[in-house]
Amino acid sequence: MKYKSQSVAKLYFIAAIALFVGQILFGLVMGLQYVVGDFLFPEIPFNVARMVHTNLLIVWLLFGFMGSAYYLVPEEAERELVAPWLAKLMFWIFLIAGAATVAGYLLVPYAKLAELTMDDLLPTMGREFLEQPTITKLGIVVVALSFLFSIGITILKGRKTVVTLVLLIGLTGLAVFFLFAFYNPENLVLDKYYWWWVVHLWVEGVWELILGAILAFILIKTTGVDREVIEKWLYVIIAMTLITGLIGTGHHYYWIGTPDFWQWWGSIFSAMEPIPFFMMTIFAFNMVNRRRRNHPNKAAVLWALGTAVMAFLGAGVWGFLHTLSPVNYYTHGTQITAAHGHMAFYGAYVMIVLAMVSYAMPMMRGRKAANSPRSQVVEMWSFWLMTVSMVFITLFLTGAGILQTYLQRYSDQPIDFMTVQDKISLFYWLREIAGVVFLIGLVLYVVSFFIGTDDPEAVEKIEVDAETA
Amino acid sequence: MPMTPQTAQGKAFIRPCTVIYLLLMALTLVTWALGKFNAQIGLPAMTLSMTVLGIAMLKGHLIGDFFMGLRRVRGPWRWVVTLWLLLPASLITLAFMQAGQ
């Protein structure tokens, strides 16, 4: 760690991982509720479990992104962070607001929560993923602006690199598009139209820039490949991401009452969205193959390569599966969507945050570059457990989705929703088992932070086994 | 014509790229004229379409070879533009044959 102020990232990373554990626990509850409908009812109804599962995901990823930015920006800008106290203050505000919101979801009925938080003054609640009370949303804006302030000023005052530039564009976009969470038109078509400006333009637009920037940073640090080469790739990838991702929003506009041309715009542009992800995969492996050093933190390199592969599969391939409008006509809102959502979020965003945590945490805990070999072995086990179980979750949900699409919408004698749900329950059981394995992997991940802390640090080996890692 | 030394190349005689440029301009005029005056020329629609598509392929190939400099490249990149031209052109041909029936 070169700069003292980088250490604020530690707080953010710890909170991120704690919330990650919470997210997975609620995911398991929900997964069980798919097959045992009244599990934990009425304490935690399905809709609440789902809300907590998705909201926690978004919040912990935001913590992860912020932590990554606080760690990465001083090192890139070659100066201390502006106002690290602000970063700490915002951390606590964000954490407390987040915890209070989740507690609100769990303790009172949603309508009551809306009433308590005076949603009627500026109604923004009740929309998927944007369920947060209006005051929480305002809090998010304050946190985001303060965050942008300290990151932005640090970048502007220090050395400017392509990595920080792309990161800054991504983070600014994240803040700007969130503002559409406050726009809640009466017209249901317009409402959905702009709702996607938050949801889609986050995950298939500006978040990808953040992903690209963090990945580039980790590759620069761990491979020793020339910055110029990596930055050039980053340019090409983000240009392609923006072209395909921005207009690709159209693949959400097929069935909500927008003009016909979106069928074409959405299909064609979103069909190209896998391209930047594919470039990212080629990019990551290329850089690691051309490496000039064997970084001792093999776990971090593994996560970085993992994210490049899994993002392509989850976001690229599984997204393409149901993105063309004639296909989506049948698959819209089935378990195919859930399959895609799981692998895409895990591959693109969970893994990149974990890669950054893996890279930065040892240094913030006083190591020179990496954890002890023992700790890394446990971490790599957790990588494989989580990744493989996520592949299975995705496959089971895909199976469920294909069957559901056929039985419910495509066959000559379509069957009603609930009957179909019964027929595909085997897939839900299998998914739940894979989910338990994922939790074991996650527990192992947490354990890896406490294992071998007194062992000597892993050292850089001369050209043998980084590839086999 | 006397041989010109390498150093004076481009000054003594017209550059290859200029020849290609003039050819491209002429081919463009042909395409435009075929579209504009086909009422008088009277080519069947399919013949007209395939002719201008063929001209476009030729133009694209020339741009790839001479303007993008691919003729001095070896390996798969040598053919990237030509192969790309074949892809939409064959699909377009297929679609027009379908429409003609």
Partner: protein, 188 residues
């Protein structure tokens, strides 16, 4: 001159980008053609409302600008930084001419109340040409950046990958229009 290069001129990354862009356009062209096959009469009827004279001027403008870019690359290979910048500016001017003519064409159609939702032909006509229009703007930005760097003396006869990179992108913009022009304006 006989030893051939392993990679096309310019940065390899731009070529991967070019391939990606070209495949998007290929899909768009095929979509146009196959949709047309289902609505031949509609497409033939509304194609008549397009002005091929504008399209001719635009095609000539783009080919000329591409030629200027070729000359810009030739100039920097001969070590002339000023010459390179001047040819690039000429190419950008041709790009600007394209934008002006295209805008006049749009103006004509829009003033007649044509929108993306008027019919399938206009939907494709506007989408395809507008998507290409944005590429012309992007290409001009790239050329302008290269021209500025060239004038500041950033390139030499031996090191000028940046010029070739920008040139390759610009030729791609030209290449796409070469197909778009007959497909949308002439073929019937």
């Amino acid at each position: 001159m006989t030893d051939k290069l392993k990679q096309p001129p310019g940065d390899l990354a731009i070529w991967i980008f070019i391939c990606a862009e070209l495949s998007v356009f290929a899909v768009f062209f095929a979509a146009y053609a196959f949709t047309r096959a289902k609505h031949v009469e509609l497409f033939n009827q509304y194609q008549q409302t397009l002005n091929t004279n504008y399209a001719l001027i635009n095609t000539l403008a783009l080919i000329t600008s591409s030629y200027f870019v070729v000359r810009a690359v030739a100039a920097i290979r001969e070590g002339s930084q000023r010459g390179c910048a001047r040819w690039l500016l000429a190419a950008i001017a041709m790009g600007a001419l394209f934008l002006v003519v295209k805008s006049m064409e749009y103006q004509h159609h829009f003033s007649h109340g044509v929108t993306l939702s008027t019919n399938t032909f206009y939907m494709f006509y506007i989408s395809l040409t507008f998507f290409h229009f944005m590429h012309v703007i992007m290409g001009m930005v790239i050329l302008a950046a290269v021209a500025l760097k060239a004038r500041r003396g950033a390139y030499t006869a031996d090191r000028h990958t940046g010029v070739e990179t920008g040139a390759s992108y610009w030729h791609m913009v030209d290449l796409v229009w070469i197909i778009l022009f007959p497909l949308v304006y002439v073929m019937r």
